[in-house]
Symmetry: C5
Subunit: 255 residues, 5 copies
């Protein structure tokens, strides 16, 4: 799990909580109907917009994005270079029994071992990448949609509260607390959108870009192995996919 993410979530909660506690009784910030309207309304619109299967698979993606470390490109490069060396020394068929960590890379190697035509391998793997990309896009869309719905239902809840308050305004003393409750819904919507849904959408986007880049690197690697390229040249090729800083890591690891 990302250290920055942990820091961010903890810091965000602590700061908002301390500002609330410094101001007095934190109980006044809890109101069940407001919670129902904001969270319920947001979930309801999400269910109307997206098919059930997309919603569930998105939550799996989110879990992965936050709790699982992303693939390390420098390790993947070492792995591909090792495979290339073995294929050169023995034969491409020898790769069939090598244990391969990533399922996508494994599928690519299997296709190469099976003697599938390189052009077809590229087409099959590219189709795979495109579906992965589309699934990621849909996940980002779902969270961006929730980030737009939450403040809208926050406002709707506040309007409902205001209408209720204004129609029974005989007792001036009750105005303050009633209005406070009405405003709570807007607060919930703003917090959910800005501290939860929108940051997750952005995070998913960044993670998706990195994952897709590594998958593209794997495609190049598999095809280079199949073409019988020199392992050193393969390494040079793959290194151009990663940032200069990571390149130094690869060089060090090699020595």
């Amino acid at each position: 799990m990302d250290i920055a993410t942990v820091l961010g979530i903890v810091a965000g909660i602590v700061l908002i909580a301390s500002a609330i506690i410094l101001g007095g009784n934190p109980i006044i910030f809890w109101n069940l109907p407001s919670v129902l309207i904001v969270i319920g309304g947001t979930i309801a619109t999400t269910f109307i917009k997206f098919p059930l299967s997309s919603i569930f698979s998105t939550f799996k993606v989110v879990k992965k994005a936050f709790f699982q470390n992303p693939l390390s490109p420098e390790k993947i490069i070492s792995e591909i270079v090792e495979l290339a060396k073995k294929a050169r020394k023995e034969s491409i068929l020898a790769l069939e029994k090598v244990e391969i960590s990533d399922p996508f890379l494994k599928r690519g190697i299997q296709l190469a071992v099976d003697g599938v035509d390189p052009a077809l391998i590229r087409e099959i793997l590219d189709t795979e990448i495109n579906f992965r990309k589309a699934r990621h896009k849909e996940g980002q869309k779902i969270f961006k949609g929730m980030g737009a719905s939450a403040p809208a239902f926050g406002m709707i809840g506040t309007l409902i509260g205001l209408v209720q308050m204004l129609t029974k305004m005989q007792d001036p003393k009750s105005i303050g607390p009633a209005m406070a409750v009405a405003i709570l819904t807007t607060l919930y919507g703003a917090l959910l959108a800005n501290l939860v849904f929108l940051p997750i959408a952005d995070k998913l986007e960044l993670r998706s870009e990195k994952e897709i880049l590594i998958m593209q690197m794997m495609v190049e690697g598999v095809l280079s192995i199949l073409a019988g390229d020199n392992p050193n040249i393969i390494e040079q090729k793959l290194i151009s996919f990663i940032s200069p800083k990571l390149r130094e890591l690869v060089v060090k690891e090699k020595k």
Copy 2:
């Protein structure tokens, strides 16, 4: 009908309704002039913007999107593969008498049976797809437009209510209820936009994408049958149009 959509609509209505009922007399949330301004104003602008025929055909599309199940790509693939087998065993002319579920696929097969040139078949079917796409786009545009108009007329209604309230402010007791009524219009506009118009627009977009993809798959299928391709190869080709999960379904169905 989509289970998620039903869940979403029911949940949305129940949550908003319960929040209203928990707060007291729900009658205060009904105001005819507010309904007239929001719904009337939204319909009026839609009529000014779009030709009558587009508006009516859009409502048919919406009905279809919500109450009719989308075409299942794995069934369409099986159907095309069956057609390909029959065409190979007997002749392409034998397809004339086969019953075909989808009218678009039927038209494509008919063109192939009639001996039309493959390039022309592709052109005719692509033109058809483009018009379908354009009609879908227009439908999404209409609902997005309504999702923008409803909050605008909600605000207009609230402004009208405020002006009326403020000019007869002699009786301070009447201010509260009058203001409540004024705010209702904004509430109506926000609810309609966020719970109805915008989710429908998004849903239409997703449905359109799926429908167009299946139509493109059918075009490939018809042309492959006409080219006399091996049914297995046709299946491999068409499968690349669908997601990995659905592919497993096709494989299972086949066995």
Copy 3:
């Protein structure tokens, strides 16, 4: 004139007016300074942004878009097919004396009769289409600009009214009516933008798309006639420019 447009305008005015009248004295909704600020400010910014000639020619385009029926593509197709038949039976020179309804089509036929090179005809007519398109775009831009300016000046007027009201707040009784007047400007701006300027901009966009499509169809028609194509083939070609529904109309008309 579009029936939908008439319905929309009448319905919009009736609904807003009835909501105002139901609420009491409608005179309170009239305030000259507010009208001056909103309409005046919107016109002023439009004059600063666009040259005089563009503004005047846009109003002509609007008048045409609302009061003149658009060209009917099925009639234009019949007309072109008739021309093609005549050109085949007699000679292309015979088209010189045929009366042609649309000036753009007429110009194209004249160029063909004059023996201008087909490539040059296409270039000349395409340039014409591009200028028509650019003029339409500018018209839409002007109305979108007014749709953005009107609410802005509505807010400016309300701010002016609020400042005036707040500085002479000694008499609490006068606050209500003064504030009502201040709010009126915002109401005017919102009504103008949402019921007039923005729907017109959208309408112009739709009309422009249709007009340009028909012009492109005419170019194809003229060049096909010049190439001496079979009238039936010309009809097939032109029909692909229009929607499936309209195609049936053409077929019926032909019989």
Copy 4:
């Protein structure tokens, strides 16, 4: 100077001023701190964002856009046609001594006279056009940025005023005027953005498009002269750059 611009600016000022004067003492609309915050804040952010040189050169561009008439394309066409005639009758070298009104056209002719290769002339002049375009874009960016900053600092000023007012609310009589002053800042920001910065940005965009089009026309003209084209053909070529209405002017001028 554009008549429409003059009309727009005068009308805008007169309307806002009359609405203010009709409402009573106009002095209440002047507040120095508000002016400082809005104008100062807008200028400050502009200085942080853009280099000094860009800001100054932009103001020169604005002055030119408002006080200098744009190049008239029909006169430029006549001038180029005259040059083409002279080059044909005498020789291209004869153009060296002809007085040429526009410096860009002059530079192009000079390059042609110097015997530079046509491909290189086009490259040199296109580079020039691209830099002009980039400078224009930067000018529009600066004014759009000011149009976004002014309302933001208007709101900031109002918030500052509100905080000051609310902390000394012991005297209820002073609330009104203090709040009026606070609101003034928002008014200033809205007026500056909607009546000054945003219209100027739009105006600059339109002017830039026209200027660039004329420069592109000049490049074609210079290269046609160098190629020894017939002056009539050159005229036909250049005319396609301008609108149909202007074309009639060229034809008249010629007669």
Copy 5:
């Protein structure tokens, strides 16, 4: 450091500060919980969205953008021309010992000296440029994200303050100051976004464009040197990368 930037920052602070001091006791504008919510919330979301390494490297980029003068393109051109002269007189190997100011140019020259293939040099340097560009983009994204988060958390803080104030409204005298404190958070958010985060994001964008342009110029220079081009022609080539004004500087420097 940019003079305009210094002027802008000083002016912005002085103006806001003077407006605050003119209005009375500036202490009322300080509130620790508000600071915690706005700055804390903004930092927290930034940490959730972006990996730690990107955030830190962005702050280095900002420091460089504000405190380090950008590369002067005219000096780089002179340097490259000098290198070209030396390479022509002696040999390309003679460049190995020349001191080169910019590390990117140095790397390019080193590759040329090492006899790497020109196509490969271009590919290696272009990859480098693309990574630089991506890093710059990420920096701008981080600051734009902070410019969007700050006002959102400003609003969240104000909502928290309002809820707290409204629930203990028994003492009317305390309403004013409590509301003032609530509004402060919105003020902080607006100031941070409009005076700090958004201008920095814009500044970074401009700086990035300039830096990338110079890097592209260096690539051209290195390849021209390797091709053995005439130093004068190299100068002409590189000059086309810079604006006409800077070109005059190069010409002067040369004399």
